[in-house]
Symmetry: C2
Subunit: 109 residues, 2 copies
């Protein structure tokens, strides 16, 4: 056990929430999302982000359209679906509840 890996471990399971939060406002492709998360010190590497986006898409929470790029191959621009918006609200509630729970452990019994 190593505290240096702790942030990475903590991220497990909340990255879905973070990605949904990012794409809820506007269409993004992977690099947009990656940059946005990087700005808030939630670095996600390709090997994590792309499979995650695929899982979210297969779950029907996000969808994408192809768009040509001037500088390279076409990009998948993701947007949140109506179902995704519902899920996002649920996940945000769960997140708030979790932070409350942990907060409550700051005092004995």
């Amino acid at each position: 056990m190593n505290e240096d890996n702790f942030r990475s471990q903590m991220k497990k399971g909340i990255l879905e929430l973070c990605v949904l939060k990012v794409v809820q406002f506007q269409e993004c492709y992977a690099s947009n999302i990656s940059e946005r998360l990087k700005k808030v010190d939630l670095l996600v590497v390709e090997g994590t982000l792309y499979p995650l986006l695929t899982r979210l898409k297969n779950a029907g929470w996000i969808e994408y359209r192809w768009e040509e790029s001037k500088s390279g191959p076409p990009r998948k621009y993701y947007q949140i679906t109506e179902e995704g918006k519902v899920i996002l609200k649920k996940l945000e509630k769960e997140w708030d509840a979790l932070t409350q729970s942990i907060q409550s452990l700051n005092q004995p019994l």
Copy 2:
């Protein structure tokens, strides 16, 4: 992907923090910890808690002493170590930073 498992997924990686928070105040054995976490809806089952306690002990963040019990086998009473207290402070800072990061995703760009 299924939102019902989300809370379980979110817990990944933060249970160490929760257990350290619980044992920082007083010696506990596994059932004490389990009950405390259950009260704040952070249910942890045996198969998760016991290996977790072993990992924390092997990392030197907690230690235990045996104590006889009137109703059953002896119990391992865990307490936090000095090193554990240092780690706990670090993890709490990481946790605060993480919640700040996620909070900041609640508005566009």
